[in-house]
Structure formats: structure tokens, C-alpha cells
């Protein structure tokens, strides 16, 4: 059966968490970890969609799915421990259970841009929501033009998905540039801010779709740099993060101007977001 990438609606009773076991736990760096969940039934999802994960007794947070959409029976999440809930999730072990709701939201429109050059720009943990797109591109490589990935992180020790970075770097017709903000002499790759590396990638701006995920300051700067390079704002997509609670557009916590990030996003085209991102009151 051909795989489709339509956003998937959550299963029945979207507000009810389902007890789901952790089947694998990987420490990516000091404060980032990845775990797999095995839901009772396969939960098809589109790259860019997210789940709500509930650490019992602590709270619930939205986490993008970082695994392969081809294996919906295994849901992979990559998380940075920055608050009480993510820290609690980081203490889980294989066999422990979390509350799971999802999948929610609108994902990356990668299927709609067959034939285009594709640029993915990730900052920090922002590589996680883009990894399902990379899996998709590798599986459907012939359907796309040039593919380029820029990934920025604080330091070499903060890089995630080490093994796969090496693998992608060796993949023919796959441009990967990794930049860290600071490094010791053992690091021979790029050091500096990630966005200027756009000039090192080969792509035709008139036929390029770009997807950005990272800190909002980086999103703004990168979207402008892409526009300067000639990529239309309607073909620049960004994944936004806000205070998502219900995940189905009822509670309003994640409202961003006229948008609900949980329901209308988290992925939005930049032409819809441009003015909102410039509004400091939002």
C-alpha cells in the first residue's frame, strides 16, 4: 500500500491518554534523549505531527514525532530536558509507561513538493521534527531534486543522531552541513551561525521548498535569508512552538493571532506567519 502523508487525526477520545510502554531509550547528549513507544495499535502519522506525552504525576507536554512514518507501530520522540515534565520523561526506562495522546496537528507538506529541490534547516533539537522528512526523502530520493540539510547546534557534544549524521553525510546527492557555535581543535567541521551556510548549498531558488525548525530567532533570520536567496515565502515552511495544552484547538493556550498552533500547525507557511512573527505582543 503506498504511504501517504496526510495529517492523521487522533484516535477516538483525543483527550484521553493511553498508557503506552517505552520500548527503547537512547541518550543523545547531556540533556537530549530519544525513546520509542509501542502503542496498542499502530498510530499512522505524518512527518511534523506531534503527540502529547504525559509523565504521570508531573504533567503533559507536546513532543514532535522524530521517527519514521513508515513504522507507525513504533513512535519515536526526541526530547530535550528543559522543564519538570521533560526532565521526568528523561528518567524513564524501558518498560515504564507514559500517557500518550495523538497524533495532532498539520505536518510538513513534503509530499506536495515532489520534483522540487528541498532544503531543511534545523537548529538544536529542531532536527528531531525534521528527521521524519529526511527518512521520507531518502526513501523517495528520485522524486526530488537537490536535497540539502543545514543543522546548527551549540557544540559538538550537543549534536544528536550522531550515527545517522555520518550516514547522511556519506549519502550521494545529499548535502549535509553541520555548524556548531563553538568547538575545540578536534572539530574539523564548520563553526559559526548556521544560516550563512545556505550559500554553500546548491539549489534552484525558483524550484525550492524549504522547511525550518529551531529557535524562533533562527527561524526569522533563516526565512529572510531564504527569501533573499529567491525562495518564495509561500514555499518556506516553519514549525512553531507555543504553549500547547489540549492539542485540539479547544483551550486556546497556543493561540497565535488568528491561528491555533496545535490545530492549524505546528507547521505553517511563512507567508501566513510573517506578520505574526513580527508582532512582539504575540
Amino acid at each position: 500500500m503506498p504511504q501517504t502523508l496526510e495529517a492523521r487525526a487522533p484516535q477516538l477520545a483525543p483527550m484521553v491518554p493511553r498508557m503506552t510502554p517505552v520500548t527503547r531509550f537512547i541518550r543523545e547528549s547531556d540533556d537530549v534523549f530519544t525513546f520509542d513507544l509501542a502503542p496498542e495499535r499502530a498510530m499512522p502519522f505524518a512527518p511534523g505531527q506531534f503527540n502529547m506525552l504525559y509523565a504521570f504525576g508531573v504533567g503533559e507536554i507536546p513532543i514532535s514525532i522524530s521517527g519514521d512514518a513508515k513504522t507507525p507501530e513504533r513512535l519515536t520522540h526526541t526530547i530535550r530536558a528543559v522543564g519538570p515534565v521533560s526532565a521526568a520523561l528523561g528518567k524513564l526506562q524501558t518498560g515504564d509507561r507514559v500517557g500518550l495522546r495523538g497524533p495532532f496537528g498539520v505536518g510538513w507538506p513534503i509530499d506536495a513538493y515532489r520534483g522540487f529541490d528541498v532544503l531543511l534547516i534545523a537548529g538544536g533539537i529542531g532536527l528531531a521534527p525534521l528527521r521524519p522528512v529526511i527518512y521520507w526523502l531518502l526513501r523517495h530520493r528520485a522524486a526530488y531534486g537537490r536535497v540539502g540539510v543545514l543543522y546548527g547546534a551549540r557544540a559538538p557534544d550537543d549534536l544528536i543522531f550522531h550515527g545517522e549524521l555520518d550516514e547522511w553525510r556519506r549519502t550521494p546527492d545529499f548535502q549535509l552541513r553541520v555548524a556548531v557555535e563553538r568547538a575545540g581543535p578536534e572539530w574539523t567541521g564548520d563553526v559559526g551561525y548556521v544560516t550563512p551556510l545556505l550559500s554553500k548549498l546548491r539549489f534552484d531558488p525558483a524550484d525550492t521548498v524549504a522547511m525550518i525548525c529551531g529557535p524562533e530567532v533562527m527561524i526569522r533570520a533563516t526565512a529572510l535569508a531564504l527569501e533573499d536567496a529567491g525562495v518564495a515565502d509561500s514555499r518556506i515552511f516553519v514549525s512553531m512552538e507555543r504553549n500547547m495544552k489540549c492539542a485540539i484547538g479547544h483551550c486556546g493556550h497556543c493561540q497565535f493571532g488568528p491561528l491555533f498552533i496545535c490545530k492549524d500547525g505546528p507547521v505553517h507557511s511563512y507567508d501566513r506567519l510573517r506578520n505574526l512573527l513580527a508582532c512582539r505582543e504575540l
Binding site: A183, G189, D190, G192, Y193, T195
Partner: protein, 154 residues
């Protein structure tokens, strides 16, 4: 064998430069080859040169006591290394180390400053070529200084 003016002509820095100016500034330039680990200049030393990278990569570093050298920027093929030669006291503010085999055009800063002083048109051409990368690096440095990827901004 290519002379220094030919090498310069093929570097992005010289794009749009008229032949007279190119020949004039070529008189301040020489071709250099750096092995991995070679330093172009060291922090605190005389900033008497800058480099146009023809091929290779250079790490800009500063030494942090008890931690060692830290790279804050890598500069690659087609880019410029060194700006301290532009302003007194002409002292390098960081280390620049080749991280791979690097071929570059090295300019004598004092020589070029003299030619810019003598002919403001040449000086203006040089300014037009130096200011854009310096402004871009300032913008990038500002983004790095924000600590975008730190936990508070994750």
C-alpha cells in the same frame, strides 16, 4: 604558471575590480600554502597581513585558560581572513589556524593601507569588499552571542 594577479582575478574578492586597481593591489600580495595546523597569525601578534582563501579552511580561535583553544568561526574557500590590519594598533585579536591544506593570497596590510591612502578610489573599492563580510560576521556573532540553542531558548 599563474602570477599573483591571475590568482587574484579568480577570487570573489576581486569580482568587478578594474584591471588597473587589480594590478596595483597585486603588488602587495603573495601566494601562500599552509599545511594543516599552520597558523596564519596569532592573538596579540602584529596584524600585518590578511588572507584571501583560494582553497581550504581556517579556524578562528581564542585560547581559554584551563580549557584550551576554542574555535568560534571557520572560514573557507572564497572568504577573507583577518581584519585587524585595518585599524590601529594593528594587533591580531585571535588565532587563525589552517585546519586542512589551504592555499591563499596573503596581503601586506601596510602596503595596501598606503595605496588606499594615496588613492581614495582604491580605498573605496577595498572598503566595498571588506564591509559586507564584516557586517555579516557581526550579524552572525550577534546570533551566536544570543545562545539560541541554550535551554532557555530551546
Amino acid at each position: 604558471m599563474k602570477d599573483i594577479a591571475d590568482l587574484l582575478r579568480h577570487h570573489p574578492f576581486a569580482e568587478g575590480l578594474d584591471e588597473d586597481t587589480l594590478s596595483l593591489i597585486a603588488g602587495c600580495a603573495r601566494n601562500v600554502v599552509l599545511q594543516p595546523g599552520d597558523y596564519l597569525f596569532r592573538e596579540g601578534g602584529a596584524a600585518d597581513s590578511f588572507y584571501l582563501l583560494r582553497h581550504g579552511a581556517v579556524a578562528l580561535e581564542t585560547f581559554v585558560p584551563a580549557r584550551g583553544p576554542f574555535t568560534f568561526l571557520t572560514v573557507k574557500t572564497g572568504e577573507i581572513v583577518g581584519a585587524d590590519w585595518l585599524i590601529p594598533p594593528y594587533r591580531s585579536s585571535f588565532d587563525a589556524r589552517a585546519v586542512e591544506l589551504t592555499r591563499a593570497i596573503a596581503f601586506d596590510g601596510k602596503c595596501l593601507r598606503g595605496k588606499c591612502e594615496a588613492d581614495p578610489r582604491v580605498g573605496y573599492e577595498m572598503m566595498k569588499r571588506f564591509i559586507p563580510p564584516l557586517v555579516k560576521r557581526l550579524q552572525s556573532a550577534r546570533m551566536q552571542a544570543l545562545g539560541m540553542y541554550d535551554a532557555a531558548n530551546a
